[in-house]
Symmetry: C2
Subunit: 554 residues, 2 copies
């Protein structure tokens, strides 16, 4: 049965392997929610499916559950009133250990086949998942659909692709024949078995539960590990649907559904820490705060720990033909999902003497004003603005805007509360952009949310140095630069390579620094404090399994 799944998706897997090698554009998951891609009734069906889940226990059969938890509230202003079965860590470990017994012996084709079938079925529930993502994370619907659906599925498939690539490089068995001069050669048969690490734990975040959760989930599952998915208590539903699909597929393939379990839990309890320290847990994928990520790295010593933590993303503006184009692009990057993307820019360095443009020198204030104007234009109409900003996921992020305002720095663009035309209670905020001098301590931390700084530097050289050292010390997932000067571009690129951060040059069109495309852009480098791994590369998957060999004479 599971072999069938592999065969069913083998053509896609082969395309995916080529795509990962070539790193051009490729995706098998349509990013447009058009009926042409998903069917005439998909949008309505997905919404209905989401509505049908509200106010009820989520239909997930976890036999060892001893209670229920829930309490998600949409950032758009209503409670979901969904409860989930709660399984205690002891029971999760017990069930996972039992499920591992058969799963570990199934081998790469079965692991990969099941993984690909799960992704395929998840794709068909993209609309339902989009609503689930929207009403847990606060993303606008279009982003919730794309980033929570097809783009997340792309990242999941990418992880499976790398896993298959690494596993399939090891031959199943070989004849080893060593010449012995005039004597007969020594002949041995050697069998190489791919074995999983054991139980993998995926710790989800509240802003991109599927996009950040799928790479670790599918990398571990496709390499034969069993997986416990521990969602953020504020964003359980998207991962609960995913786990539901996974368990369906596993059961159909003849495996114990407990190969994939959900660990829904109360906010503020110690479920994550408890699970993370279990000796049976051999792999942890984490997205979240630096404090929690550092704690895992320091304490979960029995496990391989892959973390994505906080960072301070930066923009260097040196020169540009078209300042307005720069401002438009950056304004969108700042406003998109209210700056709650881990890739959103925060510190924008501009020489205090201004920059060169095609229309002559633009002063520092001109640059700041251009950004303010671009934000006003982008967000002037609340009905359109909310589609870009979405809602602010947590009250803590909204409160951070007040904290930033209290720094007392000059305001380039003030944050406003917007009235959502559909959801009266939605927590919507536009970006707060402040002016700061390069030495300001506030620049040396992440201000997660719609908060950014236009930073006056001594020169572009100074900007580059600040960016490089900030990446090294505080981490970053993105760096952007605007320059018309090839030498400056080369120096920025060198700084990016030394510090270990992805660089986007002169983005003024339809691509934004926040965005990465699976199979082409690496998300994170694993070379600075913001993340210890990249999505996805060989290093992300190759240690999740091991090879055990048996040899004998023939």
């Amino acid at each position: 049965m599971s072999q069938d799944f592999f065969e069913r998706h083998q053509a896609v897997l082969e395309q995916a392997q080529r795509a990962a090698a070539e790193r051009g554009y490729w995706s098998p998951h349509a990013e447009s929610p058009s009926p042409r891609n998903y069917g005439e009734t998909a949008a309505a069906d997905g919404q209905a499916a989401f509505e049908a889940l509200r106010g009820k226990p989520f239909p997930l059969d976890l036999p060892l559950a001893d209670g229920s938890v829930g309490g998600e509230v949409s950032p758009f202003g209503f409670a979901l009133d969904i409860t989930y079965p709660r399984v205690r860590p002891d029971a999760l470990i017990q069930a996972g250990t039992r499920a591992l017994e058969k799963w570990r012996r199934a081998g790469p084709r079965a692991w990969v086949g099941v993984s690909l079938e799960i992704l395929h079925r998840v794709n068909r529930r993209s609309f339902e998942i989009a609503h689930a993502v929207q009403h847990t994370t606060g993303q606008g619907f279009m982003m919730a659909f794309q980033a929570g659906g097809p783009h997340a599925q792309d990242r999941g498939l990418e992880a499976v692709t790398y896993a298959w690539q690494e596993m399939s490089r090891v031959p199943g068995s070989v004849i080893w024949e060593k010449p012995q001069g005039k004597n007969d050669p020594i002949r041995m048969e050697k069998r190489f078995t791919i074995t999983p690490r054991g139980i993998a734990l995926v710790i989800g975040c509240s802003t991109f539960p599927t996009w950040n959760g799928y790479p670790g989930l599918f990398a571990s599952l496709a390499t034969g590990n069993v997986v416990i998915v521990k969602p953020h208590p504020g964003a359980i539903l998207p991962l609960a649907i995913t786990v539901q699909v996974a368990r369906e597929v596993l059961a159909e393939a003849g495996f114990d559904p407990d190969v994939v379990q959900l660990a829904a839990h109360e906010a503020g309890d110690d479920t994550a820490q408890d699970l993370a320290l279990r000796p049976e847990v051999k792999i942890i994928d984490f997205t979240g705060s630096t404090a929690n990520g550092d704690w895992l790295e320091a304490n979960a010593r029995q496990a391989l720990v892959y973390t994505e933590k906080a960072g301070v993303n930066q923009v260097i503006i040196d020169s540009a033909p078209d300042l307005k184009g720069v401002a438009r692009n950056l304004a969108f990057s700042l406003a998109l999902y209210s700056g709650q993307m881990c890739t959103a820019p925060q510190n924008i360095y501009v020489p205090r003497d201004g920059i060169r443009t095609a229309e002559g020198q633009a002063s520092f204030d001109d640059v700041a004003a251009a950004l303010g104007t671009a934000l006003e234009k982008l967000l002037g109409d609340p009905a359109k603005a909310v589609e870009v900003t979405g809602a602010v996921q947590s009250e803590a992020t909204a409160a951070r805007i007040e904290k930033a305002r209290a720094l007392g720095l000059p305001i380039v663009a003030d944050s406003r509360e917007l009235q959502h035309p559909q959801f009266a209670q939605a927590r919507v905020r536009t970006p707060l952009v402040l002016r700061a001098d390069a030495g300001n301590d506030a620049l040396r931390q992440e201000w997660f949310g719609p908060i950014a700084f236009v930073v006056a530097t001594d020169s572009t050289e100074h900007s580059v140095e600040l960016a490089r050292e900030s990446v090294r010390q505080h981490g970053a997932l993105t760096l952007a630069a605007y320059t018309t000067d090839d030498d400056v571009a080369a120096r920025v690129q060198d700084a990016a390579e030394v510090a270990g951060v992805s660089l986007s040059l002169n983005l003024t069109g339809a691509v934004f620094v926040n965005q990465t495309a699976a199979f082409s852009d690496f998300h994170g480098t694993g070379a600075n404090p913001a993340a210890n791994a990249a999505l996805s590369d060989a290093a992300f998957v190759a240690n999740r399994f091991r090879v055990v060999q048996t040899r004998w004479h023939v």
Copy 2:
């Protein structure tokens, strides 16, 4: 210049990549010291070169040296009287950081070309290195030549091969073109740059300084890192020669020789710990005790730490057509280099009711006696015996034999001191083999050196269970089993896969459980406490470099 090196060795690299994928027999480094392979004068020249090094400062130009260290004593009973320049950790880090500046920008072809040229020149010095290995580790000459020379070079080449494979999978630059329906596609150029981690530290051991040192050294160097080689104070010379060769090649290629530095130091000082905790040190490869390896894993948190530590290797005897063949093979494995190989067997499980053989049931005592007899025959003639046993590297290992004897267990074969015909003061010991019951606590630790136990178990099932649990708890690099029963073989293989240890079945000929062949056998699995990595696989190299991308519209 460095490009020349790559081209010079490209054909070998391509063969090596095929070999690593196919995992059949392959080596470009002749393991026989025959004049046909190395030239008529190679043996004499190598010996003369070694003799010329004795009693002098070793010719290694380390500009920041502020003193000298030395004090190696051959286990064959004489002082080498060689001193080495001593460079303090501060100076090593300073020089390494400076050397990294140019090296990091040279790119994979240069890194790999230089690495391959170093290996090529090291190969030509195999005889000199053989004497250096013999008279630091105590290995017999033939093993010192093979394991210290060509086999170590194979493992180094294997690491370079995997490094090249992983790096060359990332395209240098691509055009990314995303369709936009009726509109023009979005086109971007993306450049992917391989960047090293920084400074790598290789911590050598006293028994296999080159064999265990080369994989980490070459994996790090070939991925653009600079390397500090810290030899064990008792086995500096083989790595000093290697570093000397590396610096010659680097200088010829136009790089700072400090890309590879030697950190010779006094026994008992804190050089290893000091270097291991430096923030600039991003990679550590370690071979040695569990205590030191665990300390590194717990404390060197800024670095990727690859460790090979202690383990308890095991043999399961269930049944055999020819008990004598089993005993002969095991006796050699126990005696070879006096059990000082990390792969040497220690606990040999035999059911207390005996085993089936072609000549009928053999009692437990028969099996033990056969092993004793085989050892007597193998080691009866001291002149031949010392070629197998070599000498005992340290006094601590020799003393461990007394400690084992003091356990008071029945003696299967007693350890003897042998007189070496050439080196009167050589520290030569034959194996001590004791009889123990399965529950004996002594079995739950490594007895490094010529010490083994024939262990009475309740049944083969019991033996398998003991082996599996011991691997899980105490680690192991090897497991061997003897059985004529396919079901038993399958159960042992399953136990090996669950516990994560390589298995050799029914070795009675010219292959010994101690031995692994590069490009075919993985050394270690990385799946049990004896080692957290395998030599070599993708996981061993893929995280030593990162990819930093730059993208822009075209």
